[in-house]
């Protein structure tokens, strides 16, 4: 019997009446179980900033009544009940019973078209970066630290926020922009916006569709929102989105895409991607936007697995990428679509990262081909110079004090040369210059 009106403790299998049966809810339940969730804590009257803004701007002006407060569900690896929890609060020893904190999901009092509750702001830990099934590969995620407060206790979760679309105020592109907006806020202190605010601001670039209920943003409107945030965008087109070309990327665009994704994700910048979906018996495409939130790094340059924040699936959704094509495979394919193709990559960037990444890639590709002839491998990385110097502090490099004390621009693009056993040299390009230019010092690693 629960004596507390505002919270409840339960097992993951008992959550369905609260979280519902949507695709996203089912995904989240499976995801937290994979991360060894044993106990859930439901906060029944949580005030969620994003939903409160959407409530004020949109739902409060409806004839139908909507609740202002949401359910927030926390996930823990520890096994405990309400008595354990109350005692631990009295003893100020909550962390001793909770185990690891996996994160939380918000369940909004808004139903989707299938009459299921909508999943709001969700912060869940990533899978481990080490891949137990393949020791030669490593998962790389975009993620930031978030403090979470529960009854006076602070927990931390390292993640990229997720939420599914609330169809009335925004579709998939709005959800993707919201995810991206949260990342940019952490990186560049840009403004946080709710889904309603994102749709409204994007639609200052007009189209013939209705504003609300939202029917989906087009790429111009996606750019419009990002630029309104004071950001700029890097774009890579793998293949145009018409029925004749959507699955025909050039070899050059695929190679550039591998580098583009590796460089931006490792720089902690999530990438919005435009996807086209096709059913076998139809001669038209459907378009979808999602966010690339990670990839698996292996021994080759090609990327064979991506992780998506897809508002129609869930956070860090594993997505296979068929070699030498732009064809992907994830839950969409089992939902009746025969193909899922990746067409456009859009990386939001701080405006002072002025060197177009594709020009850096052009220079890098030439350098790499020369290096490979000499048995040397190469990689392309984007750095904030403070992070780069912090990494160099840990390394054995030639003339370390001079390198660390040298002036560097805020952003640098690093062409790194190495072999299987050691790093050789970093050639630095000035990321704040409008065309490729090498800056001193060239960083040499001690043998």
């Amino acid at each position: 019997m629960n004596g507390y009106p505002f919270f409840r403790i339960c097992r993951p299998d008992e959550l369905e009446p609260v979280i519902g049966n949507s695709v996203q809810a089912q995904y989240i339940l499976k995801y937290v179980k994979d991360l060894s969730c044993k106990t859930c804590l439901q906060e029944k009257e949580y005030i969620d900033r994003d939903y409160m803004i959407d409530y004020a701007d949109f739902y409060s002006r409806s004839f139908q009544e909507f609740k202002r407060k949401v359910n927030r569900i926390h996930f823990f690896t520890g096994e405990f009940d309400e008595d354990d929890f109350s005692r631990a609060l009295i003893d100020n020893d909550l962390k001793s019973i909770c185990g690891d904190y996996i994160g939380f999901t918000v369940v909004k009092p808004i139903e989707n078209s299938l009459r299921q509750p909508t999943i709001g702001r969700t912060l869940l830990s990533t899978y481990s970066c080490n891949n137990d099934r393949d020791h030669n590969s490593r998962r790389i995620f975009t993620r930031y630290q978030y403090p979470v407060h529960i009854f006076g206790n602070e927990f931390t979760v390292e993640t990229l926020p997720f939420q599914s679309q609330d169809t009335a105020v925004g579709a998939c592109a709005t959800a993707s922009l919201w995810i991206s907006c949260n990342a940019m806020n952490k990186l560049f202190d840009t403004e946080l916006c709710s889904p309603y605010e994102i749709t409204e601001r994007s639609l200052t670039y007009p189209s013939i569709s209705r504003k609300f209920p939202s029917t989906g943003l087009d790429p111009y409107q996606v750019f419009n929102f990002l630029w309104s945030q004071g950001l700029d965008t890097e774009v890579l087109v793998l293949a145009n989105m018409n029925i004749h070309e959507y699955d025909k990327p050039s070899k050059q665009s695929l190679q550039a895409a591998y580098l583009f994704i590796r460089a931006f994700i490792r720089a902690n910048i999530p990438i919005i991607t435009a996807l086209s979906l096709k059913r076998e018996d139809e001669e038209s495409l459907d378009y979808h936007a999602a966010v690339i939130s990670g990839f698996t790094e292996g021994n080759t340059d090609a990327v064979s697995k991506l992780y998506f924040h897809d508002d129609q699936i869930g956070p860090f959704c594993g997505t296979e990428w068929t070699h030498n094509t732009n064809r992907l495979s994830n839950e969409w394919v089992s939902r009746g679509w025969d193909s899922l193709n990746m067409n456009i990559l859009i990386a939001p960037i701080y405006h002072k990262l002025r060197l177009p990444i594709l020009e850096a890639i052009g220079h890098f590709n030439k350098m790499k081909s020369i290096a490979v002839e000499r048995g040397i491998q190469a990689d392309l990385l984007i750095y904030n110079s403070n992070d780069y110097k912090a990494e160099l502090l840990e390394q054995d490099i030639v003339d370390k004090p001079r390198v660390l004390m040298s002036n560097l621009p805020r952003f640098i693009i690093v062409e790194r040369f190495f072999t299987e056993h050691r790093l050789f040299k970093d050639v630095l390009l000035d990321g704040t210059h409008p065309f490729p230019s090498i800056i001193e010092p060239v960083v040499e690693y001690n043998q």
Binding site: A171, C172, A173, S207, S209, T215, G216, L217, D218, P219, Y220, V222, V235, L236, V237, N240, M241, N242, Q252, S253, A256, A274, L277, D286, Y287, H288, A289, Q312, N343, I344, P356, L358, E359, I361, G362, H363, K366, M367, I370, A371, R374, G375, I376, E415, F417, T419, F424, K425, V427, F435, P436, S437, I438, V442, E444, Q447
Partner: protein, 48 residues
């Protein structure tokens, strides 16, 4: 094991490429090609 000379050479090549107007033109051209998106595509809404 690569010699110090070989890696110095890489660095010199990196610099010399950027002094080569033909190379720079090629890089700019292929970079533009990779960002070409038709106006029709720019107006397609993401509806799913």
């Amino acid at each position: 094991m690569k010699t110090k000379g070989e890696t110095h050479q890489l660095e010199d090549i990196a610099k010399s490429l950027l002094d080569d107007p033909e190379f720079i033109k090629d890089v700019e051209k292929s970079s533009r090609k990779l960002t070409e998106l038709s106006v029709e595509d720019l107006l397609k809404p993401f509806t799913l």
